[in-house]
Amino acid sequence: MFYFLPREALKNWLSEISKVHEVFVPVSPSGFGPYEGKLYLEKKTKLSAKEFFLPWREVILKFEARPGALPSPVFFEPVKERIIFGVRPCDAKGLTLIEKVFGEDPFFQKRREKTILLGLLCKEPGRECFGWAMGVNPFAGEGLDALFLEQAEGYLVKLLSPKGEKLFKDQEAFEKVGEEAQNSFKKAEKEFLEKHPKAPALEKLKEADLLKLYEADFWEGLALPCLNCGICTFLCPTCYCFDVQDEVVGLEGERVRLPEACMFELYSRHASGHNPRRSPVARFRNRFMHKFKYFLDEYGEPLCVGCGRCNEECPAGINLWEVIRAMSTL
């Protein structure tokens, strides 16, 4: 089903639903925040909406910090249902990829359940975007509850899930639209897909021999500039690795789950000091092998939605496409 929202009605509507729900929107080029009148919709934000599902600090246990204390489990429990508006389709697709692994994780699931995701299509692909090449069709809105397409007069809204339908059932600001509007959506989708085909590289990667890829000699050269920092993993809407830490202050203790980067030396270091991926090259290789081989082999899709954040933000100038090209032309 499709609705239409006039452009000038958007902010009003966001304020309206803020009364009933917790509403988050992109507030600046850096990322999302609670809606308080500020809205940044020009480009995709540096930090994706991933942080709402795999947060920077997920408390999983609370305990009294003395030997023998019994832990009490903690579950994320929002007071109101959350709405996140302005999520880019690629980021939402990223969540569906994470869900393949985290399908039974109660923390992730609870957060998904309690959140309505409203997507917004980009006006133009950004310079570093390549989502389509990774097989992402932004118009399909995978992982979203509704998708907004910006048009001359306002937003055309496509409903994508029962959660979305329920939300829009009684929103006065929106008017139902007919077939004509639907066709304009389909037309935009068709034009986009014709211009932006899926990359043949993925099929080649599926066929590639895992060990040959691993042993290829291009890794050394590609990894030389890499700093092994965590920028690409923390900004990535699909990277899901986490660390678990016990934090204690005085007698209060919490066990928390937090994002971690596979680029860090500590990531794979055993307590004994042995580290199977001690060298920076090994860690670099593991990141891309995971995304474009291990995950691809297991789930049929790469662990990448082509949002381009890593390319845009990598201070060392590493370009994901060059890695994919090297891997797929081996």
């Binding site: 920077w56 600090r57 408390v59 934090e247 204690v248 202050v249 005085g250 209060e252 203790g253 919490e254």
Partner: protein, 142 residues
């Protein structure tokens, strides 16, 4: 109940710790605000130790060692002096109350100086109030 600051004092084993001991033996009065950590030399104290004390809730930190020329290891305190100078400048630069982190020379025979140092430091920190700025609270601020 009036608030009493908690001060972590890193005292060098050879001078200041003995100085503190002398203050005790001489029955000198000073406020019971300090918790002593004995260290081999003032240069053993690293900035992480000082900041960790503040993070864990100390209201002040004192590092005390031998006077220049008296170091058991000859020059440890001279290295320490440079380091603490730089640390103090850095902490002030980011807006940490400079009075909270203090350095002193106290020799083994200066029990009175030690008592004075602790009294003065306690007064300074009482004026500032509890350390809220650099104290970690679980799940506090992100």
């Amino acid at each position: 109940m009036s608030w009493e600051p908690r001060i972590i004092a890193f005292l060098c084993n050879w001078c200041s710790y003995a100085g503190a001991d002398l203050a005790g033996v001489s029955r000198l009065r000073y406020p019971p605000t300090i918790r002593i950590v004995r260290v081999p030399c003032s240069s053993r104290v690293s900035p992480a130790m000082i900041l960790d004390a503040l993070k864990s809730g100390a209201d002040g930190v004192l590092v005390s060692g031998c006077h220049p020329g008296d170091c058991h290891y000859l020059t440890g305190n001279l290295f320490a002096r440079r380091r603490f100078f730089m640390l103090k400048k850095l902490l002030e630069f980011v807006g940490l109350e400079p009075e909270r982190v203090q350095f002193a020379w106290v020799s083994a025979s200066e029990g009175d100086v030690f008592a004075k140092v602790v009294s003065e430091l306690t007064e300074k920190i009482k004026l500032l109030g509890p350390n809220t700025r650099f104290r970690k609270i679980l799940g506090g601020k992100i």
